[in-house]
Amino acid sequence: MGGNVKVVIDADLCQGQGRCFSIAPSIFNFDDLGNGFVIGDGELSPETIDLARLAQANCPEHAIFIEESS
């Protein structure tokens, strides 16, 4: 098995702009205040990684990070 790829939202940077959960509702959801959070453990598969990157590229606050670990 290769390294795992995970997506995380930095809650200090997120201002609830809402782009992530509109673009990728299978990966992100929103809380009672409208801030974004990652569903489950955030582990990405080859099928979901492009969608996560698209959400990342649309977050105005640069609050989404995609991390690779081995």
């Binding site: 009672d32 698209l54 649309n58």
Partner: protein, 410 residues
């Protein structure tokens, strides 16, 4: 409001060089600001003015983001540029007159958290049916008319209806709301002694609504603000009133402008209109590009203490006009920034601001814009401008077309 006041605003000197004398109510800026901003971005990139008792205008995305995120050197105490930086009755920092938009940390966080739940996606999505019904009602009222003003007959009606219901105000008072907004956002270049009295009818109106809600509490945003408790204490009355005023002002003109600009664009770009008609799934992506390209809202800050900002000698209490719409056209931040690309997939626009003051109403605004456009193009799959020279634009910090003479084809 006095006609004199409006005439006065028209009588000032036109701008010759926006780099050293910018004025966001100058007719050249009001009718087409984008070439001005592009020029300033290349030449300055921070413009200055002595008007409004002194202010700056950064034009790059990077600088706008930097200032929006720097609450240490810039205060939000006043976010609308006028000739009066110290209105006598305005509550001071850290709350300001219209929390949370006029509030600074740490008070800001408290004032914002209080209202975020009401505007989160859940409650907002529940309003979609109501918004759609409002749209069809105004389209039905147009009947078979083939030429009409889409600003006056459609765009201006959507957001006031939603906000009136949310605040628990009579819907029949809509015209008054638009008057209030006109005073707050359009009539900015008046002498303080002229501008001050224009606020009285609004203050009176809100006081009456508050009294009515105190006497007859009900399930709406006004009663929520009046009754919500923090550490066993209710909000100060000026806090409640300030947030109500903010919701009304921020919720009406802004979305109305976004709807208007989008219809204005589609009237001139049949290829974009056809794509939306044939591919409704494209709408959410298109909405983001409408918001980027025609971002309606510019906000302001005041400089807290003298400061050197990238070589600009900013002085305490100078204005900084925070051009989110100019940031959205910065070629450093967007590929083909001055091209409207209806399916632009990567679009990190700043139409709703950046940092801690990010628009609380963004979920509502997006939904209203999407639904208003969906209903409009479903009713009118082809239309064009009937009279391009008849289009007029709102002056000041919220930009959108007020008159949009349209001709419906077919």
């Amino acid at each position: 409001m006095s006609v004199d006041a409006e005439a006065n605003a028209d009588a000032k000197l036109p701008v010759v060089d926006f780099a050293v004398d910018w004025d966001h109510t100058d007719s050249a800026w009001v009718s087409d600001p984008y070439p001005i901003w592009d020029d300033l971005r290349q030449r300055c990139p921070v413009a200055h003015t002595d008007r409004y008792a002194g202010g700056w205008f950064p034009t790059t995305h990077e600088m706008v983001a930097e200032i929006a995120n720097d609450t240490e050197h810039f205060t939000s105490r006043m976010v609308v540029v006028t000739n009066n930086k110290f209105p006598p009755n305005a509550p001071p920092a850290p709350m300001g007159g219209a929390p949370p938009i006029t509030s600074d940390p740490p008070f800001h966080q408290f004032a914002r958290r209080l209202i975020l739940p009401a505007f989160a996606p859940g409650p907002v999505n529940a309003l979609e049916g109501q918004v759609r019904a409002l749209c069809t009602k105004h389209l039905d009222a147009l009947g078979d008319v083939k030429e009409f003003d889409a600003g006056a007959s459609y765009a201006q009606y959507i957001s006031p209806g939603v906000i009136a219901k949310m605040l628990g105000f009579p819907e029949a008072d809509e015209d008054r709301f638009r008057d209030f907004v006109h005073v707050v956002l359009d009539l900015v270049d008046l002498a303080p002694e002229e501008r001050g009295p224009l606020f009285l009818p609004m203050a009176e109106y809100f006081n009456t609504q508050i009294e009515d809600h105190v006497a007859h509490p009900r399930d709406d945003f006004t009663s929520y603000l009046l009754n919500v408790e923090f550490n066993g204490k209710k909000l100060a009355l000026e806090h409640v009133r300030g947030t109500m005023v903010l919701t009304l002002v921020a919720g009406i003109d802004t979305t109305w402008s976004a709807i208007g600009s989008s219809i204005w664009h589609l009237a001139q770009h049949p290829e974009d209109l056809a794509r939306l008609v044939n591919d409704p799934a494209l709408m959410p992506v298109a909405v983001e590009e409408f918001l980027r390209f025609y971002a309606p809202v510019t906000m302001a800050r005041l400089v807290k203490e003298d400061l050197d900002f990238h070589g600009c000698p900013m002085k305490k209490d100078d204005w900084v006009l925070l051009g989110f719409p100019a940031a959205n056209r910065d070629p450093e931040a967007f590929v083909d920034a001055n091209a409207f690309i209806i399916d632009r997939a990567v679009n990190r626009h700043a139409a709703f601001g950046l940092g801690i003051h990010r628009c609380v109403g963004s979920n509502l605004a997006r939904m209203e814009l999407r639904v208003a456009l969906e209903e409009f193009i479903a009713r009118y799959p082809t239309f064009e401008l009937a009279d391009p020279s008849g289009v007029t634009w709102a002056p000041g910090q919220v930009r959108g077309p007020r008159r949009i003479p349209l001709r419906i084809n077919a």
